[in-house]
């Protein structure tokens, strides 16, 4: 018997396409955000609040990842923002190739900002680089403070954590402090924003954070 040494990354093909996406976005000065969450944490609602606040300042597009339906894409399109829909047909995550195809349908050369709404799932999307600048993870206060400890991979790789549905805090036994401790235990650099898409609280802060992060990114600032 003989042993053939291989030592190759299983997802090398995904990573290579992600790098193509990254180059395309960066050369066009597009700052991109990969939005991740469990199902029902409010990613689409967050975009519905975010886009009207930023669309007069930036040319924005959205890539909507969904397992089955185009309902979320319709909600975003209704805001007048170019939207590319990816239906994964049961697939539990977006991969770089799906994003590459979606990018081909968007006016990338005109954009400043791109949101990629990933499939609702905190496990699989962590492994797939899409070519984005930052990952932002959305959790809602109904999900419990242990989320960062249960999904360290995603929280370690995210730049921002949006804690959504804070209007429900009075009715829940949820400690924001405890959540912050857990989140910073796995990622001390993680920036945490508290939002409510019902009352609009915190959305301006999130938008300001996006402006700052975009400005800090050398490739988008120069364009």
């Amino acid at each position: 018997m003989s042993v053939i040494m291989v030592e190759r990354k299983v997802l090398e093909r995904n990573d290579a396409v992600a790098q193509e996406n990254r180059t395309l976005l960066q050369t066009n000065g597009v700052f991109s955000v990969n939005l991740l969450s469990s199902p029902g944490s409010g990613k689409t609602s967050l975009l519905e609040q975010t886009l009207p606040r930023l669309r007069h300042e930036f040319a924005i597009a959205v890539i909507e990842g969904d397992i089955q339906t185009d309902l979320d894409a319709k909600r975003i399109e209704a805001l007048g923002v170019p939207t590319a829909q990816i239906i994964t047909g049961g697939g539990c995550h977006l991969d770089a190739n799906l994003v590459k195809k979606a990018l081909a349908t968007l006016p990338v050369e005109k954009l400043d900002l791109l949101f990629i709404e990933n499939v609702g799932n905190l496990v699989c999307p962590a492994a797939y680089d899409l070519g984005e600048n930052i990952k932002a993870v959305v959790i809602s206060v109904t999900e419990g403070e242990e989320k960062p400890l249960k999904y360290p991979a995603i929280f370690r790789n995210a730049a921002v954590c949006i804690v959504n549905k804070i209007d429900l805090l009075p009715f829940l036994n949820f400690s924001v402090e405890r959540l912050k401790e857990n989140a910073h235990a796995v990622n001390p650099q993680l920036q945490i924003v508290l939002t409510s898409c019902t009352t609009g609280e915190g959305i301006d802060e999130w938008c300001n954070l996006l402006r700052t992060l975009r400005r800090k990114d050398p490739s988008s600032a120069s364009a």
Binding site: M1, S2, V3, I4, M5, V6, E7, R8, K9, V10, L11, E12, R13, N14, G91, C92, H93, D95, V123, C124, A126, A127, Y128, L149, Y151, P152, A153, R156, A185, V186, N187, P188
Partner: protein, 117 residues
């Protein structure tokens, strides 16, 4: 979950590596970091389902899960990462990097050469 697509990617790496080498694959050794969210049972299941009836039929998947290491940026010590403890156990620094946590690699392939008859 995504174990099936990971199994699929690793099988294509194995096939690419072997091209048309006349051999029987006995085992494929993969390294899966403990922070990579991959369920080993599902990966093994996906692997065996995907190779059934192909030239890889009968190959075993050997999964290695070495402990991730935590490298301290302050005191320079290297320790095995314990669950949920992303701080240096020696000096308490949070300035750390984790090595090998989300690894997902095909390490090697064990084959039996088919001697030309």
């Amino acid at each position: 979950m995504h174990e099936l697509s990971i199994a699929c990617s690793l099988i294509s790496i194995v096939k690419e590596t072997l091209h048309d080498r006349p051999c029987r694959v006995k085992a494929v050794v993969v390294r899966v970091g403990r922070l990579s969210n991959v369920l080993i049972d599902s990966l093994e299941f996906g692997f065996s389902a995907l190779i059934a009836g192909t030239e890889l039929d009968g190959a075993r998947l050997i999964v290695r899960q070495p402990d991730p290491l935590l490298l301290c940026g302050e005191c320079g010590q290297e320790t095995v990462l314990k669950e949920f403890e992303f701080a240096c156990p020696h000096c308490g620094s949070l300035n750390i990097t984790v090595k090998g946590g989300d690894d997902l690699f095909v390490e090697s392939i064990e084959v039996e050469e088919e001697t030309a008859s």
